[in-house]
């Protein structure tokens, strides 16, 4: 019998440490599938973040570097500049990319580095216990905003993708949601475009994925998917931003 659905070569056959219903497993797999489809596994160098995906290199089966918290795009810049023939991407959470690493993010984008960025926005710090992230919604309860995020006290959810879209060095930005089969297929297409842009030398490309975190949203996996669809997209509208 023909197998019509097999694990991607670029993903190791191991179980992950992610919680049930977490979006990281989906995102890891989509990236691995695209890398297989583009036939670039042996050219890829990924940069893993500090956050829940800190050991992404235990799951992906290609060359990877760690980066200090927030520094993934500086590390990726160093790698890509000395090895322009390789395909270099970063995989970063909201705290990593849009709080402690905002400087690295903005300047790598502004230099127009020919890199692909996969940005997992789940509106919380997952690995450290569900604290407020730069992308936490107003009113959202986290372990450091027990009464809910207040604009007066903690400011507003940071729309870093829209900010980055203003920069001439940025060539492609799309926001997608990991909450339904059609949206997951769109996400895969966006990942492919971001990597193809790099292959073709187009320049800085970023895919922001709204990603479920049932554990720190206090929801079931299914409710978490619905929360992205019904609530999160109001603050972070889906689609091609640039």
């Amino acid at each position: 019998m023909d197998k019509i659905y097999v694990p991607p070569r670029s993903l190791r056959p191991v179980s992950t440490h992610y919680c049930p219903g977490c979006g990281h497993g989906l995102a890891h797999r989509l990236i691995a599938e695209v890398i297989d489809e583009l036939g670039i596994r042996e050219k890829v160098i990924a940069v893993a973040p500090v956050g829940c995906a800190v050991i992404a290199y235990d799951y992906w089966d290609f060359d990877c570097s760690e980066a200090a918290h927030g520094r993934a795009l500086a590390v990726a810049t160093g790698i890509k500049r000395v090895r322009p023939q390789n395909i270099v991407f970063t995989y970063q959470g909201d705290g990593d990319l849009a709080a402690i690493g905002t400087n690295e993010t903005i300047h790598a984008a502004n230099r127009g580095e020919n890199l692909s960025v996969f940005f997992i926005n789940n509106a919380v710090y997952g690995m450290t216990g569900g604290q407020m992230a730069p992308t936490t919604l107003l009113g959202q309860k986290t372990s450091t905003t027990p009464e809910g995020r207040s604009a007066q006290v903690q400011g507003y959810p940071l729309k870093i993708s829209e900010m980055l879209a203003l920069l001439p060095g940025v060539k492609y930005i799309e926001r997608t949601g990991l909450y339904s089969p059609p949206e997951i297929i769109k996400t895969k297409k966006a990942i492919k475009k971001a990597l193809m842009n790099q292959v073709e030398g187009v320049g800085f490309s970023l895919v922001e994925m709204l990603s479920p975190c049932p554990t720190y949203w206090g929801l079931s996996p299914q409710e978490a998917m619905s929360w992205i669809k019904n609530t999160m997209v109001k603050e972070f509208p889906l689609g091609v931003i640039k």
Binding site: I55, S65, G78, I79
Partner: protein, 369 residues
């Protein structure tokens, strides 16, 4: 500030600042990646790199921050390139995070610190106040950087080239520790043919190059499983013991019959040497130990004075440690001497530099109370 430089190999000497000689030494050693951020008094270095790195086919990036610069070096080094960053004291404080990660991921890298006055923003005068930060682990965790301290423009070039060799050999960050005086003064420099040719083609099997024909490589410093980090740290410690056994470097000057041995490094050693010569001309038996490697600290330079003596052995000399800081290298000398001889101290920092006269006065005081 593009100046035409004759950098052909040969006997010809060219006039350069220490900052430029460090950059030239790096390029001669095959450094192909530099990322830096402007800060006085090391600006000649980044400016020199901006002109000459691209000329020679390498990558120059003026980074958005010191933190980004050192993390770019992490990436470039992980991808197999000989990589360097440079800064001055406040900027080096910012780089400590990256240096710790580089040490933890066992990546080679060269970091230049042209020290200025501190703490805080301090001033831009020469100082040696970052000795502790450089020779202990300046960032978090149990690690060491190998630290080399040039005292002239030729050594800026030579030791920087050596730093790349040692960094690759031991997969360790190497710090070139200079100061604002050394960085900005000019002296003749001989470009040596052997530096370029020594450019070792170390096979970097660990480098991230894409996993064609091999298992994937990972550059990381994260060891979460129980016992894994301790095992890794013990491996690092073993490497550090090897470095301590093999890589002590120092210069001795008229120490054999000395009654007073000055101990100074970098620019400070130049002034100390002048003081030794002046004292010798007056018949005073003074000498100098100039540590070149600050970590590992050159303990062997002291051992001949401190070995258990016979009755016929001449009395042990006194040591006078002289720094542009307030007693940092002093602690390493005290640890080595361990109470077996007198150790005196003369230091100034924050813009003050102990002069030849101050040194001689201090020696006279030691002799005559």
């Amino acid at each position: 500030m593009k100046r035409s430089r004759k950098t052909e190999v040969g006997r010809q000497k060219i006039l350069m600042t220490g900052n430029e000689a460090i950059a030239e030494g790096a390029l001669a050693a095959g450094c192909t990646f530099y990322a830096g951020y402007p800060i006085t008094p090391q600006n000649e270095l980044i400016a020199y790199m901006s002109v000459h790195m691209q000329e020679r086919g390498g990558v120059f990036i003026q980074a958005e921050a010191e933190v980004a610069a050192i993390n770019m070096v992490f990436g470039a080094s992980a991808a197999g390139a000989r990589s360097m960053t440079s800064s001055s004291s406040p900027g080096i404080s910012l780089k400590q995070e990256g240096i710790s990660y580089i040490a933890g991921a066992e990546l080679p890298a060269v970091i230049v610190n042209i020290m200025r006055g501190g703490p805080g923003l301090g001033n831009i005068a020469p100082a040696q106040s970052d000795y502790f930060q450089a020779t202990r682990s300046g960032g978090h965790g149990d690690y060491h950087c190998l630290v080399l301290a040039p005292s002239g423009i030729q050594e800026c070039y030579d030791l920087t080239a050596l730093a790349f060799e040692l960094a690759d050999q031991y997969r360790i960050p190497v710090i070139i520790l200079g100061d604002g005086m050394l960085g900005q003064m000019m002296e003749p420099l001989a470009i040596k043919s052997e530096v370029g040719s020594q450019k070792s083609e170390v096979r970097k099997e660990w480098a991230l190059t894409g996993c064609q024909g091999r298992e994937p490589n990972v550059a990381k410093s994260f060891y979460l499983k129980e016992g894994a980090l301790e095992e890794f740290n013990l491996k690092l410690q073993k490497k550090y013991r090897q470095i301590q056994a093999k890589e002590e470097r120092w210069e001795e000057f008229l120490v054999d019959d000395a009654k007073i041995v000055l101990v100074a490094y970098g620019s400070m050693a130049r002034i100390a040497k002048a003081a030794v010569k002046a004292m010798r001309s007056k018949g005073k038996k003074a000498g100098l130990i100039r540590p070149i490697s600050l970590w590992p600290f050159p303990k062997q330079a002291f051992s001949k004075f401190l070995a258990p003596g016979t009755k016929s052995r001449a009395p042990r000399p006194n040591f006078l440690v002289i720094e542009m800081s307030y007693g940092q290298m002093l602690e390493d000398v005290q640890l080595v001497v361990n109470g077996r001889a007198e150790v005196e101290f003369l230091g100034r920092s924050g813009g003050g530099i102990p002069s030849e006269k101050e040194i001689i006065n201090k020696v006279n005081k030691i002799y005559h109370g």
